[in-house]
Symmetry: C2
Subunit: 276 residues, 2 copies
C-alpha cells in the first residue's frame, strides 16, 4: 500500500520566498505523517492571481533551483516522492505553469501544463509535450494540472501509458454547484478514475487570493472511482492508503477489460480524435 497525501496549503501571491518555505514545510509534514507520495497545489510556490508580469517573473524558477533540492532533501529519508506545481522559467526566458516530480535524487520530470485556463494565457506559455507518466520508486505517477483534468483524453492517455496514480496539482476557482454536490472537478476525476481504473489525487489550494475564492476540494479517489479522502474547507490535508496494484488491473467482468474493450478504429472514424 502507498500513503498518498494532498497538502491543501494557502500560498501568497507576490511572496515566492514565503511560498517556497511553505511547500518545503508541507513536504516535511507529509513525510512525517508517513506519506510516500506528497501532492502539492498548482503554482504552489507562486500564487495564482498575478497583478503584473513582474510578479510572475519574480516567482518563476528553473528546474535547477534550490527549491527542488529542498524538496529532495525532505523526501530522501523516507524514499518518498513529491509532485508540486510551480511557475517555471525556461532557459530562453519563457514561463510555464508546470509541475515537478521530485524524489530523493532530485527532479525526475517537469510537466508544462498543456491546457491553460482563462487568464493564465496572459502569464504563461502552454506546454507542447503531453503529460508524462513517471516511473518512480513508489509507482508509475502520471501528472496533469488543473484544467487538463477536464479533457478525458488526458486521463485516458496517462492511464494507457501505465499510470498507477494520477497526481493533479490544482487551483480550482470556486464555481456554483447544487447544494449537497461535490465540486464538478471532483465528479470529473471520479469518472476518470472509474473508467480508467486508476487512482487519482487532486491537490487544491486554500483561502481567498485577491478576491478569488478557491474550492478547497482536495480529494483522493481510488481506482474504483470512489473518494477515499477529502481535505474539506480551509488549509488541511487529504491522506489515504491507496493500493496502486488495483490500478494495474483493468479486468471488469468475465469477458470485459476496460482497455481491451476499446474500439479505437471507431473513435477515429467519427472524428473524435481530431479537431471539431
Amino acid at each position: 500500500m502507498t500513503i498518498v497525501t494532498c497538502r491543501q496549503i494557502a500560498p501568497r501571491v507576490g511572496e515566492p520566498s514565503h511560498n517556497v518555505e511553505l511547500t518545503v514545510s508541507a513536504v516535511r509534514a507529509g513525510v512525517d505523517a508517513g506519506a510516500t507520495v506528497i501532492v502539492l497545489p498548482e503554482l504552489a510556490t507562486a500564487g495564482y492571481v498575478f497583478a503584473n508580469d513582474a510578479e510572475v517573473a519574480d516567482a518563476a524558477r528553473s528546474p535547477d533551483d534550490a527549491l527542488f533540492a529542498a524538496w529532495a532533501d525532505a523526501v530522501r529519508p523516507a524514499g518518498a516522492v513529491v509532485v508540486g506545481g510551480f511557475a517555471e522559467r525556461s532557459a530562453d526566458g519563457a514561463v510555464f505553469n508546470s509541475a515537478a516530480v521530485v524524489d530523493g535524487g532530485g527532479v525526475l520530470a517537469v510537466y508544462r501544463k498543456t491546457h491553460l485556463w482563462d487568464h493564465e494565457h496572459e502569464w504563461f506559455v502552454a506546454g507542447d509535450e503531453p503529460p508524462p507518466v513517471v516511473d518512480t520508486t513508489v509507482g508509475n505517477i502520471g501528472v496533469a494540472i488543473c484544467y487538463d483534468l477536464e479533457f478525458p483524453e488526458v486521463t485516458r492517455l496517462l492511464a494507457l501509458a501505465g499510470a498507477e496514480l494520477i497526481a493533479v496539482p490544482t487551483n480550482w476557482p470556486l464555481v456554483d454547484r447544487p447544494a449537497g454536490e461535490r465540486p464538478p472537478e471532483v465528479v470529473i476525476a471520479m469518472a476518470a478514475a472509474r473508467v480508467n481504473r486508476v487512482a487519482i489525487a487532486c491537490c487544491d489550494r486554500a483561502g481567498i487570493e485577491r478576491g478569488q475564492r478557491w474550492t478547497e476540494g482536495s480529494t483522493i479517489i481510488a481506482a474504483d472511482g470512489w473518494p477515499v479522502a477529502a481535505a474539506g474547507p480551509g488549509e488541511g490535508v487529504a491522506s489515504a492508503d491507496v493500493d496502486l496494484a488495483r490500478s494495474r488491473n483493468k479486468h471488469l467482468a468475465e469477458h470485459n477489460d476496460a482497455f481491451g474493450d476499446r474500439r479505437p478504429e471507431l473513435y477515429r472514424v467519427a472524428g473524435a480524435l481530431h479537431d471539431p
Copy 2:
C-alpha cells in the same frame, strides 16, 4: 425547451410480444405527458438475461418490423422522437444489441452496440459502425447503449459530431456502491455531460430478471453536468425540460472553449488514440 422522458419499464425475458406492447404503451404515455423525446431501456422489447439462443432469436426484430411502425404511430401526433433498445436481426441472420431512433415518419437510424458487456458476447455480434448523431425535428440526438457510456471516447465523439442530447438506453446490473452515492454509471454520465457540455438521458430498466437485479438508475443530466431528474426505484419515469441550446454552447470562460481547447496532436503522441 424540450421535454425529455426516460420510461423505466420492466420488460420480461421470453415474452417479446408482451414487451412490444409495453414499449408502445410507454411511448404513448410519454407523448401524453408532453414529452418530445422518449427514451426506452436497452433491449426493451427483448429482456436481457437470456437462457438460450432460441429466446434471443424469438425476440429479434428487423428494422422493418411492425414494432417500429407502432412507435411511429404513437409519436406522430406530437412530432416526438423515441430512442429505444431492441434485439436486431439483420438480413443475414446476425443478431445485434441495437437502438432505433424513430419519429412519426418511421425509423431514422439504427445503432448496433459497439461495446458488448460480458455475456452479451454469447448472444450478440458487436456493431462495427460508430455511434451516430441523428438530425431530428427536435434536435441532434446522439445514441449510445449502456457499456458504451464507459468509454469517454464515445461521448466525446458524439458531442464533437454535434449531439445536443445523448440518449442512452441501458440495462444497468446493480453493483455495489458506497452508501449515499449515485450509481457509478450516473457519475460517469455526469462527467461526460460536464466536459462535453451536452445533455445526457440514460434510461435504465426496472425489476429483477432471473435473479439479476437492475440499478433502476434512469437519470437526465443537463449540459452543465448536474442531474435534473431521476426515476428512482421500481418502474417509473424521469422527465425534465432540457434546454438543448445549452449543448450548442461550449464557451467556458473568456479565453476557454471546451472543444477549442483540445490538443489532439498531444493525445495522439501519447498513444491514447491507439490500442494499449
